[in-house]
């Protein structure tokens, strides 16, 4: 590895010396999209939570905190982020191991690390640290990456993913694996390799099924294939959520008027299944608008990544944006019965979730990349 690696230096994109809105390092189009989406989220949550104003306040405070984190991270020039990447990754892996060890002692599932003052979930850090590490590593290589670099990248993905699967947290490990795969795709690996890897994954599926999964995880997949088999458990969720979406029709039943959600047939309606509430009350056209808003945010993210000035920032921005997209697809897919119930929230809309802060931190990184420019030096 190149020990005298130069991280370059990034400064404000248009330094004027005076304080302007630019000095805030906000990407305004992206910020607009995020605020609009959070707003929609609060509106749906008010209905899904049974008009509980306390719930809205709590979510509002959480959103405020998450946007605060985004703002702070946006101020950090990308060369610092790049410099921290391997450290953050290393610390993250160590903490995952610690979680597993304490989990083994405490017996049973363990995702939290108790640091005395506060508890905290190392797998959340990895959602940022894995794309950062891959971008950091690939930036050192020429692209498309040579085979050796590819192999090491796969290792960077597999180690944390396996540790998180062990916790067990299938949803998060899936997200992190996807983030890594996207970084590789964006780095330009050949399509032939992509095909080969897909075959490999398909071949590994049975092994994961029999040795890597807990009984309840297998049960979830079986339930997805045949919801009626478990009408008291998660099969019930899928049945009810499909009824909610389907009965919404073109125009929806109207805000606060969804019978499935208001009469509480729909379980987990303020958290993982909030999309079904939205679909029931705002209908097909509402969904089109919501998806358009998500597409806007994702397209802006991809634009930022394409505009970025070096490999690290490009790969990082692209991979973070696509991870956000995975959230969306997995959540809607599970709510509408296209995918098994994995337990990922609808980003920025679902109530609660420690993932919101991580998500907004990722957008903070995007904003930092967009609002700083790299000084090109000969060194």
């Amino acid at each position: 590895m190149n020990h005298s690696r130069s991280y370059g230096r990034w400064i404000d994109r248009r330094p004027t010396g005076r304080f302007t809105t630019r000095s805030l390092h906000m990407d305004w189009p992206l910020l607009f999209g995020l605020i609009a989406l959070s707003g929609v989220g609060l509106v749906v949550l008010y209905s899904a939570g049974g008009q509980d104003m306390d719930l809205i306040w709590r979510q509002g405070i959480r959103l405020g905190l998450a946007f605060g984190v985004m703002f702070v991270i946006a101020q950090i020039p990308p060369h610092h982020i790049e410099r921290w990447a391997p450290w953050l990754f290393g610390v993250g892996v160590l903490m995952l191991i610690a979680v597993l060890i304490f989990g083994a002692i405490g017996k049973g599932a363990q995702r939290w690390l108790d640091l005395g003052l506060f508890r905290f979930q190392p797998s959340e850090i990895m959602k940022l640290a894995v794309p950062m590490m891959i971008a950091w590593y690939l930036a050192e290589n020429t692209l498309p990456p040579p085979r050796r670099a590819m192999a090491i990248t796969v290792l960077i993905i597999v180690v944390p993913v396996v540790l998180i699967v062990k916790q067990p947290d299938l949803g998060t490990s899936l997200l992190i694996a996807m983030a890594g795969v996207f970084a590789l795709l964006l780095a330009g690996i050949s399509w032939r390799l992509v095909g080969g890897m897909s075959v490999l994954v398909a071949a590994f599926t049975p092994i994961v099924w029999f040795f890597g999964m807990h009984d309840y995880q297998r049960q979830r997949v079986l339930t997805f294939l045949n919801p009626e088999s478990d009408p008291l458990g998660s099969g019930y969720h899928i049945i009810q959520s499909k009824i909610a979406i389907g009965s919404g029709g073109l125009y929806g039943k109207g805000w606060l008027n969804g019978t499935q959600s208001q009469l509480e047939f729909l379980p987990e309606r303020s958290t993982d299944f909030i999309f079904a509430v939205f679909a029931e009350e705002f209908g097909f056209f509402g969904i089109l608008l919501l998806l358009a808003l998500y597409l806007y945010i994702i397209a802006r993210g991809l634009y930022i990544s394409a505009q970025a000035q070096d490999t690290f920032t490009r790969l990082l921005a692209g991979s973070l944006t696509l991870t956000f997209f995975v959230y969306l697809v997995v959540n809607i897919g599970m709510v509408s019965g296209m995918l098994p119930v994995v337990g990922l929230p609808l980003p920025l809309v679902s109530y609660g979730g420690t993932s919101m802060v991580t998500l907004m931190a990722a957008f903070g990184i995007l904003m930092s990349i967009q609002t700083h420019r790299k000084l090109l030096t000969s060194g």
Partner: protein
């Protein structure tokens, strides 16, 4: 990397990335189109179908709780059963103003503040569509009054529920345990589907360790409800599978005798059948009524239980760790015989104390003036301390440890209700590891009389006694006799530990030891001679007195001068009939003074009752 190549790469890589980003965007749009197609399928094509379903969504699925298995003692006496009771329940989502409803209900029937606060606690834990009990055990009059007023309260239900009841009250609570409300921690460990209708879970004892057998499997029914959600008719029904009935090895009558014999004193009695490990008695005094816990105990009563001097919640039989005192002597004596450090003829002159080289300290005998010339038999019969100071010193602590370990000292017995302490069987290795200190000779001496670091639970003592009675065959004590399946078949208890046989011991040495233990009861100077009343069988036993309070070298132990809670613990181990043992017993009376005067009569009463059947003219 030279900067030149890096710059060239930057441009090419930028282009590569842009093309990949565009492909990604296309992929994203295609995925979104797939989602939109799915939505069209659900919301446009399937709209009518799902609308009908949503309108008909008055069909709800209700889980049905299985009936919990019953628990019997070995003679068929019911220890835990289910009583039908009427419960007033509220389904939160169907009530507009819960506080108002409760306020109005209070005017109809009596609802205590305690009920209300418990209701609010459960309100937080349960989903809004699940019914939550507000008042339990309604009287028939209350049921009638509620029925008349029912139209005023949508969303309230009078449910007939089965509530766990322990007809024997506190008799065997530390063995049988109890059920109580499922708490949040347990909620994470159980299968939520199977417990969808269950409110209670075993918290202690048999109820906890055999929860998987007792609980059964959930059933469910589809019911049609009206707009308010009240059940109109049942569409179809999958009945729940009731839990299995369990028969224990415990003998409730014997247990009662043991408890009565203990009286007000705090202590424990454990009796085992040495042949098969059946636990016949598992009593710990100062126990509590399990029925208090079933519906949630109120804070005041719970605090009283917790702070009571008698510590009723503490299961002394399994968790109480006591110095075994002189009850350890038969085991150490046997070790001495077996290792040829002593023979039955070996004598020692006991002058009332023992000293070791280079140590000023006097290791005193309980008998100030000493026992005089003492052989093995006398040492057990009269419980001579000096004899065992000397023997322990000769043998050394590690040899003692290795000999006693197979008897189960220092390790859990594996009883099937768990939650037992392991006690301590000290050795030089143990002390180095646990205390980080070297072993001192003086500690070997006091280990010889079961003091110092050595600790054992009453269950361990009973198990070791059983092994002694068996001439070395160890057993795993267990409370489960068999599971009574609905088809009249039985599943017998299967031990999960191998029974080891301490078999290399000369049979003669067993006999010598047991004969000495008989002499404890039948000898003229036996320390437990008061329980000899001419039984038609022979008891072998050993008394023990465990020091709680360290007395200084030159001071004398005078019971009357010492506060009750610092007085010595009284112990007694025994088995009978000594030639073909059917019961092995360990008794401890906390602060009871001498083993012979307090503990032995309790064991005697239990043994007499248990064996009276065998030796009564009618026989068994």
């Amino acid at each position: 990397m030279s900067p030149q190549i890096a710059i060239k790469d930057q441009i090419r890589e930028g282009q590569l990335f842009s093309s990949r980003a565009i492909i990604a965007l296309i992929g994203i749009i295609l995925t979104l189109l797939a989602i939109i197609t799915r939505m069209m399928y659900l919301q446009i094509i399937g709209h009518e179908h799902y609308t009908t379903l949503s309108q008909n969504n008055r069909v709800s699925i209700q889980p049905l709780a299985p009936t919990r298995g019953l628990i019997f003692d070995r003679n068929g006496i019911i220890l835990a059963q289910n009583l039908p009771t009427f419960t007033l329940e509220i389904i939160p989502e169907r009530v507009e103003d819960i506080d108002l409803t409760i306020a109005e209900l209070v005017q109809i029937i009596e609802i205590s503040d305690n009920d209300i606060s418990r209701f609010h606690e459960r309100l937080k834990q349960k989903r809004r569509f699940q019914s939550i009990p507000l008042r339990l055990r309604l009287s028939e009059e209350e049921v009638a009054r509620l029925a008349v007023n029912r139209h005023r309260f949508p969303g309230i239900e009078i449910a007939a529920r089965l509530i766990r009841e322990y007809p024997q009250g506190n008799l065997a609570v530390h063995a049988v345990g109890y059920v109580a409300r499922i708490n949040e921690k347990e909620l994470n460990e159980i299968d939520p589907s199977n417990y969808a209708a269950t409110n209670h879970i075993g918290k202690l004892g048999i109820e906890k360790s055999y929860e998987h057998l007792l609980h059964g499997s959930v059933g469910y029914q589809r019911v049609e409800t009206n707009v308010l959600g009240r059940t109109l008719r049942v569409l179809d029904r999958t009945p729940p599978v009731p839990g299995e009935d369990i028969v224990l090895t415990l003998d409730a009558n014997l247990q009662r005798t043991a408890k009565q014999a203990l009286g007000d004193a705090s202590g424990a009695v454990v009796a085992i059948n040495p042949k098969n490990g059946d636990v016949l008695v598992l009593a710990s005094t100062g126990d509590f009524d399990p029925n208090l816990f079933v519906n949630g105990i109120d804070h005041k009563t719970y605090n009283e239980l917790q702070t009571s001097r008698l510590k009723p919640l503490f299961n002394r039989a399994l968790l109480g760790q006591y110095p075994p005192g002189s009850t350890i002597k038969p085991f150490i004596g046997l070790a001495g015989l077996e290792s040829d450090f002593i023979t039955p003829k070996t004598t020692l002159f006991c002058r009332g104390w023992h000293t070791i080289k280079d140590d000023e300290r006097k290791y005193r005998d309980w008998k100030k003036e000493g026992h005089g010339v003492t052989n093995f038999k006398k040492s057990i019969t009269e419980s001579c301390d000096v004899y065992y100071y000397d023997l322990a010193q000769t043998m050394g602590i590690d040899r003692i440890h290795d000999f006693l370990a197979p008897f189960g000292f220092g390790e859990t017995s594996g009883i099937d209700i768990g939650g037992e302490a392991s006690g301590i069987l000290p050795s030089t290795g143990w002390k180095r590891q646990a205390r980080g200190e070297p072993w001192y000779l003086g500690e070997t001496l006091i280990a010889g009389i079961g003091q110092g670091y050595t600790l054992a639970t009453p269950l361990q003592l009973a198990r070791a006694t059983a092994a002694l009675a068996n001439h070395g065959n160890t057993i795993q004590p267990h409370l489960l006799s068999y599971v009574a399946l609905s088809n009249n078949e039985k599943i017998e208890f299967i031990p999960d530990r191998d029974s080891i046989s301490i078999n290399k011991i000369n049979p003669k040495n067993w006999e010598i030891t047991i004969a000495a233990m008989e002499n404890v009861i039948y000898g003229l100077r036996g320390t437990a001679r008061r329980i000899n009343h001419g039984q038609p069988y022979k008891i072998a036993g050993k008394t023990g007195t465990a020091q709680v309070f360290g007395i200084k070298q030159e001071e004398e132990y005078v019971a009357e001068d010492i506060a009750k809670h610092l007085r010595d613990h009284a112990l007694f181990i025994a088995f009978a009939p000594s030639d073909d043992p059917e019961i092995a017993i360990a008794v401890i009376v906390e602060n009871g003074g001498h083993g012979g005067s307090t503990a032995a009569p309790i064991a005697g009463a239990v043994i007499d009752q248990y064996l009276s059947l065998d030796f009564s003219p009618g026989g068994k």
